[in-house]
Structure formats: structure tokens, C-alpha cells
């Protein structure tokens, strides 16, 4: 017969094959009511962020701040690479903030970096600047 462990509210939080002296000595009888599942985190996990990336005259000309961002490399008009200090394992999704009609997208190159494309009217082009946050999925 299994034995159950309960929390202070009376919810079953553990089931054991044998009695556990001191915390699970109650025989399990009938259907049990397990503790409600924990709610998902109310805040997202942000794995990296870069604020105030300025783009001018064929260069990443400024970077105001951020975290876990190693740096930004200018490859060509509308094409950049951003790399991280600590790798981001698993899936992640960047969210961009740029002005005007700029559409930005990114592709994970590896756990340490991602390539970014910026397009205006469908054509690769430099925005004046942008910021980004990278969310862990």
C-alpha cells in the first residue's frame, strides 16, 4: 500500500511505496488530490539584450548598453551579426525595436551568435538604429 506526504494545506505532494517516518506515514486510500500545478513564470526569461545599436555610414557606430551581448558586426547593408558572451542553449527568439517601416529578422548561427537582416520595402537596408531583446523559448 502506498503512503502519501501532504503539505500544510493538506494537498498530496508525494507518494511513496513504503512509509516515510516523520513525513509520509499516511496510507493512501481512494483517489488522491494532487497539489495544483505551478503557474508558468509570470515574466519571460530574457537571455540577452542590446539597446541603442546605431547604424551609420556602413558601420555599427554605437551601442548604448545591454547584457550578454559580446558585440555587433556589420557585414553589409541590412546584414549584421550579433554575438553573445554566454551561449544561449536551445531555442531563442529575438524581438526588435526599430523605427519607421523597417522589418527585422534573425537566424541563429550557433549558440553564440545570430545573423540579423533589416529590410525596408523588402530590400536589405540599414535602419538608423535598433534595439533587441532575446527571449529564451
Amino acid at each position: 500500500m502506498p503512503y502519501v506526504e501532504r503539505d500544510e494545506a493538506g494537498n498530496v505532494v508525494g507518494i511513496y511505496a513504503n512509509p516515510q517516518p516523520g513525513f509520509a506515514e499516511e496510507p493512501m486510500e481512494g483517489p488522491i488530490s494532487l497539489a495544483p500545478p505551478l503557474a508558468p513564470p509570470s515574466a519571460p526569461t530574457i537571455a540577452a539584450a542590446a539597446f541603442g545599436l546605431a547604424v551609420a555610414d556602413g558601420d555599427i557606430s554605437g551601442l548604448d548598453g545591454g547584457f550578454n551581448i559580446g558585440g555587433a558586426i556589420y557585414f553589409g547593408p541590412g546584414e549584421y551579426l550579433v554575438f553573445f558572451i554566454q551561449p544561449i542553449e536551445g531555442r531563442y527568439a529575438p524581438v526588435f525595436m526599430a523605427g519607421g517601416s523597417v522589418v527585422m529578422s534573425a537566424t541563429a548561427a550557433d549558440a553564440y551568435s545570430m545573423t540579423i537582416e533589416a529590410r525596408s520595402d523588402g530590400v536589405l537596408a540599414d535602419p538608423d538604429g535598433f534595439s533587441l531583446q532575446v527571449f529564451k523559448l
Partner: protein, 90 residues
């Protein structure tokens, strides 16, 4: 802000790269790019970066631990004008 110049090998070819970072992130970014033991130059700002076509890394510092990198960056006395080569203006 800081500008970092280094070389990396792409498809067997040595390419001069540069990136933009913050002064705070710089000691930690260097071990990622160009990587430990590799040479680099860095300055707070460099003029006409797209016009840079070559760089002399002969006397450049090498990447170490973040603590070592702070000291290496502080010890840089060469100016961009001394080690960088810009595309001649026609």
C-alpha cells in the same frame, strides 16, 4: 563604446573583422571573438571604419582571461592611425 579589430579565418581565408561593443562587455567579449590567445586591437572609437582595409597585428595584445584583458586593453598605446590602413582616397 569600444571598437575591436581582429582577424578570423573564413573558408580558409583570413579576413579582417571589427565589432562594436560596450566598454563593460569588452573584457568578456574578447574571449568569444577573436578568442583566447588571438591578437586584437581595440579603441574607444575609430574613424571611417568601413574604409579600413588592413591592420598590423605585429605588436597587438593577445586575448586572455577577462582580468588579463582589462590590463591588456589599458596597456594599448598604439593609435588606430599607426596600425590601421585605410583605403586611399582617390
Amino acid at each position: 563604446m569600444a571598437k575591436v579589430f581582429y582577424e578570423e579565418t573564413v573558408n580558409g581565408e583570413t579576413v579582417l573583422r571589427n565589432y562594436t561593443t560596450t566598454a563593460q562587455a569588452l573584457p568578456f567579449a574578447l574571449p568569444v571573438r577573436p578568442g583566447a590567445g588571438k591578437k586584437f586591437w581595440t579603441w574607444p572609437a575609430v574613424s571611417n571604419v568601413p574604409g579600413v582595409i588592413a591592420c598590423d597585428f605585429t605588436d597587438a595584445p593577445t586575448v586572455g582571461t577577462p582580468t588579463q584583458n582589462v590590463a591588456a586593453v589599458a596597456a594599448i598605446t598604439a593609435t588606430p592611425e599607426v596600425v590601421l590602413i585605410w583605403q586611399p582616397v582617390e
